[in-house]
């Protein structure tokens, strides 16, 4: 029989293990299974339903009813195509924009006097603790047709007609850059902070101008931070739902939104599940690349 030590070890491993199996892995298997089913007018609204009481013939009948029809459907209806492509395009564009906004900020932080830095880091992290939803919502008042930005620009005489920004893709870019900025700034800051200042002095001594020393020394050495930050923005941005829903318009196509609507309004669970499966397949590539970058950095540090 097992001693108390093994019993305890077994309990320690199996409790979190079973929890994750039941509430993370099993739900996934269900999504995958439903993506191979057909929509039906029943409760729940798909067919075939698994019926364990029918025994082995029931299992084979169930398996033979599963097919890839929903995935074929996704390739025929160009809504899904365009939604995947437009999600990719929005995620890439906003990642580049976040880098352009985040790099100077991280650079400024890394070159600030030492006693300032803890405060600056806290100021970057603080918004991260405030509600994501509220931060996205705060842009609604700014970007609306009669919002603060238009009032300001009209008042200054810069424009004569209000700009239409809310409910366009531009608003979605702004929302993503704003909410994910800390994810970009912190890894770049970490890389820049480690940078050895004597390298820059050496470059300047050897006749490099400050500008080319920045491009030839600083930027390449902060590359791991840039890569990590870009993935940390790109991966969640691709499946984003709240930002396109609140700031985007009816023309903004993002896959998270399509999935939600497929489920909520059309109640087509099999197609919603198929959309989810494809989104996961697309995400696997950047996730593996990100893991590899982290691994390489860890090895470099040792």
């Amino acid at each position: 029989m097992w001693g108390p030590y093994l019993m305890r070890r077994f309990a320690l491993i199996s409790i979190p293990y079973l929890w994750l199996l039941a509430l993370f892995l099993v739900p996934f298997v269900i999504v995958f299974k439903i993506s191979l089913s057909d929509i039906a007018l029943s409760i729940p609204p798909y067919t075939p339903q698994f019926d364990p009481s029918a025994g082995w013939p029931g299992v084979t009948a169930f398996l033979s009813d599963l097919d890839l029809e929903n995935f074929v459907f996704l390739t025929t209806d160009d809504l899904y195509w365009r939604a995947y492509l437009s999600s990719l395009q929005i995620a890439v564009t906003s990642t580049v924009l976040t880098l352009l906004v985040g790099y100077p900020l991280a650079y400024g932080m890394a070159n600030a006097p030492d006693r300032w830095r803890p405060t600056l880091i806290m100021l970057v992290i603080l918004p991260f603790w405030t509600s994501f939803l509220i931060r996205v919502y705060s842009w609604k008042g700014i970007l609306a047709g009669s919002g603060y930005l238009n009032q300001f620009l009209l008042g200054m005489g810069v424009i004569s007609d209000p700009l239409t920004i809310l409910n366009t893709n531009t608003a979605v870019y702004i929302g993503i850059v704003y909410t994910y900025l800390p994810f970009m700034v912190l890894p770049i800051y970490a890389a820049l902070e480690r940078l050895d200042g004597s390298l820059l002095e050496a470059a300047e001594d050897l006749g490099c101008s400050r500008k080319s020393a920045f491009w030839l020394v600083t930027v390449p050495l902060s590359k791991p931070g840039i890569i990590a930050g870009s993935f940390l923005v790109f991966i969640p941005a691709l499946g984003e739902f709240v930002i396109p829903d609140l700031l985007g318009g009816s023309k903004t196509l993002m896959i998270g939104k399509v999935l939600f609507e497929e489920f909520d309004k059309n109640r087509d669970w099999p197609v919603a599940s198929a959309v989810a499966v494809i989104l996961l397949l697309i995400l696997i590539i950047p996730i593996i690349l990100f893991q590899r970058n982290e691994q390489k950095q860890r090895e470099a540090e040792q």
């Binding site: 979190p16 509430l23 892995l25 900020l105 400024g108 006097p113 970057v124 994501f132």
Partner: protein, 271 residues
């Protein structure tokens, strides 16, 4: 000694203006007394008055707090166990799957996590409500807790535990007397993170909840989908205030603890 250059000062100013201006405007306009939400019409606290009388918001706030308290506490226990298993557990069957299931939820799009949990709850005929939101939140936050706690477990000296075991401690009391006090800051940080993530979550709660339970983010979301709402501005201001005070207090407390620890260590060395 590094000093602010003109360029660095500008990029810091612009960057932080971008980060803080939208929230500042939201806070300012929550005190707007005018009829038009976008035009300043004098200082007033009337939206706060309407907010505290709004039963629906108070109910939702109560549901949110209950969910956050329960889910973050269960998640801290499970996440700490999982971290211990990953760092100290050695080899066992299915270890790769286990660590995969800890890291995957961190990168999973919320819509997919939410959808899959909803399909599970419906599949097994589980009535959706406050309990299902707690289950859903516990599942993703335990992974965050486990990452935070395991980074602390990796960095601390294992020989301390071994010394306790050599001196006759049982594994359980070695954990309670040696390991737990050392990883306590990470466990507390993990709990805070889980609590905040639960308070913040809209998408997963929206899938996991049924008609019987509405959380505050769900309430806020349905109120602001159509446009700016002064009541939500007031509510946001209160939430931002609580978080700001909480984060600043936490950072001051941890700073003081670090200073005290340093002093104690110096005193110990001097003796």
């Amino acid at each position: 000694m590094r000093r602010f250059t003109w360029f660095n000062a500008t990029s810091l100013t612009l960057g932080f203006a971008f980060l803080y201006l939208p929230i500042t405007l939201l806070v300012i306009y929550s005190f707007n007394g005018g009829r038009n939400v976008a035009v300043w019409g004098g200082f007033s606290t009337k939206w706060y008055g309407e907010l505290v009388q709004n039963e629906a918001f108070l109910d939702a706030a109560w549901v949110t707090l209950k969910v956050a308290a329960f889910s973050s506490t269960i998640a801290t226990v499970l996440g700490t166990m999982a971290a211990y298993v990953l760092v100290r557990g050695g080899r066992f069957h299915g270890r790769t799957l286990f660590s995969g299931m800890i890291y995957a939820p961190l990168v999973m799009p919320e819509v997919i996590t939410g959808l899959s949990l909803l399909l599970l709850f419906i599949g097994i005929g589980f009535d959706r409500g406050i309990l299902t939101i707690i289950l859903a939140h516990t599942t993703f936050s335990m992974c965050y807790v486990s990452v935070v706690v395991s980074s602390r477990l990796v960095s601390f000296d294992r020989s301390l535990e071994e010394a306790a075991l050599d001196l006759g401690c049982s594994p359980l009391s070695a954990f309670r007397l040696v390991t737990l006090p050392i990883i306590a800051p990470a466990v507390i940080a993990g709990w805070l993170l889980a609590f905040t993530l639960s308070l913040d979550d809209l998408v997963i709660a929206n899938f996991a909840s049924g008609p019987s339970a509405t959380t505050l983010p769900m309430k806020i979301w349905s109120a602001v989908r159509l446009g700016v709402s002064p009541e939500i501005n007031a509510l946001s201001t209160i939430l931002i205030g609580i978080v700001t005070v909480g984060v600043i207090t936490a950072s001051l407390v941890s700073k003081r603890a670090a200073v005290k620890r340093q002093r104690d260590e110096q005193a110990a060395v001097a003796n």
